[in-house]
Amino acid sequence: MTQGAAIALRVRGLRKTYRDVVAVDHLDLEVQAGECFGLLGPNGAGKTTTIEVCEGLVEPDAGEVELLGRRWGAHSRELRERLGIQLQETQLADKLTVEETLALFRSFYRSGLGVEGVIALVQLGEKRSARVGQLSGGQKQRLAMGCALVGDPELLFLDEPTTGLDPQARRQLWDLIENLKAGGRTIVLTTHYMDEAERLCDRVAIMDHGRIIALDTPRALIASLGVEHMVEFATGEGGPVDVQALSQLEGVRSVRAENGFYQLQVERLHQAMPALLGELERRGLPLTELRTHSATLEDVFVSLTGRHLRDE
């Protein structure tokens, strides 16, 4: 954040439709230099379209995009030199080795990092001579990240960097992204994993149906729920519970019933739990399942849209 309030990316009035589907609908956002900014939303929310318009790969129907004080068109070549891009579905050439792939991408940039340095950064030293086709999903993704880094970018775009990876590979990638953040790069990433957004992003824009429906730090977004905990329970064969009665319980803010599950948004867990157990006892209902967890971005999304992030 050494540049203070410098704006790395500014998007205004962005709109993009594919035939009759509105992918992005009048979207505005600003990303500060040095910030890690997340676009969080379910599949089809318009995250990829948004990021690809920013990357100059998709032409918007309307709206303006300004990156590092430049625009696509007149400054395309300069911008390409200064951006690092990792696309969602790219398959790099299977027949090339890790080293050859990075050398190829390095050759496109006037200045940048050495191939050796990037190999070390993305921890593919042992795989330097392996062909891309033989890498695991996580290694391929780290190589794609390496290709985005060889130009020593000021602004890095990562589209679903950990989708489809196993938990260990995801954590490795998170470490790498945190390293890059610590190095002060500006990062814009899309994800539909709320834990990823919570862990990596300084600020998160929650997207749904082509619009931003909430934008703040993960902490502030969760705080906006006004509750700290979520309690979920089921009563199995015991029959329905009176939602009205549940919402009257001490410390409970609101209640949702879904597929035989009840979800309570709870302000004070230590008061709500005994009250809930007492209520069920009084009505003679069994408790077949019970979970509590701290509120997450997922809960924010559910309370905003009534749907889960990974419904679709």
């Binding site: 050494t2 990357e55 390409r80 696309l87 790099l92 050759s107 496109f108 990092l113 050495g114 000021e154």
Partner: protein, 364 residues
Amino acid sequence: MSLSRLPDAISATNEPRSRAGSSLVQLTLVRYREFLREPEAVFWTFVFPILLAAGLGVAFRSQPAAIMRVGVPRETAGAEELARAVRSDPRLTVDLVDGNAALRRLRSGRILVIAEPDGRGGVVYHYDDTNPEARTARLMVDDAVQRAAGRPNPVPVRTVPVNEPGSRYIDFLIPGLLGMNLMGSGMWGVGFPIVDARRKKLLKRLVAAPMSRAEYLLSFLLSRLTFLLLEVMAVVGFGYWVFGVPVRGSLGMLALISLLSSLAFAAMGLLVASRVQTIEAVSGLMNFVMLPMWIFSGVFFSAERFPEVIQPFVQALPLTAAVDALRARMLEGSPPAELAGELGIVAVWLAASFVLALKIFRWR
């Protein structure tokens, strides 16, 4: 400025691009690597045409004039005498069998002519008069029969056999195969990797980096040049060393014809691949474009066999022009001026395909 943001270990390696790291060099190296690491591609480009030439060269090799087989029905009177007369020509051999067997053998092509005494001192010939070989056999049989009966030759004759390299089928075939190979490798060598890269979104990823699009396309042409040299040497060299197929006229001109043809087919490959998204679609489109040329362009037999009406179409095909020019150069050593027409046709295909391809090319 950017250095200050980097971890120490990384900033130490920040370096400008070296000459070997030039993107055109790197892109061209990628072309070589991808090709050489694909055993199938190497087979189809280098081994297949040689196997084909070897197979066809052996099947159609020049051999001494074949012995022709003649049937004589043995139950007829005078059969023995007729058979003896026919056998007086060493190029003829006689099956002395009964009449029905002789007919069966004639129908199945095992004998070419049935010669049958008509019982009044004459001979009847049964043969298929649309079969040139049978017509030849009938003439030879008749000649032997008439000479045996005492016909004199009023004009003295002498024959000198000619079996010169350049007039055999293999000589005709090698330039044709070379042309066909240039077409296949030119079109596939460019079209396939481009569609593959587009399908994998690699093309999109490349243009997301500051890559020069012209250099990307140029890398295909540069790598084609190298492979072209190897392909020409493989096919022409094989024909020359194994079958003695002549290479008349300068090698430079042969190289020029090959180069121009190869670039034209590469440009056509680029055009075919310019918008296609899947391997299946590009395969179909490639075959659709190449099929008329396999049939009409005179690779395996002369294109002039096709009716006059379609000759303008046949002659306008780039492969017809390429094969005609290669054949004229290799077999007849035609001077460059005589090849101008063919080379002009190839050049028009090259320019038109390239310009159109660049116009409609889709990078994602």
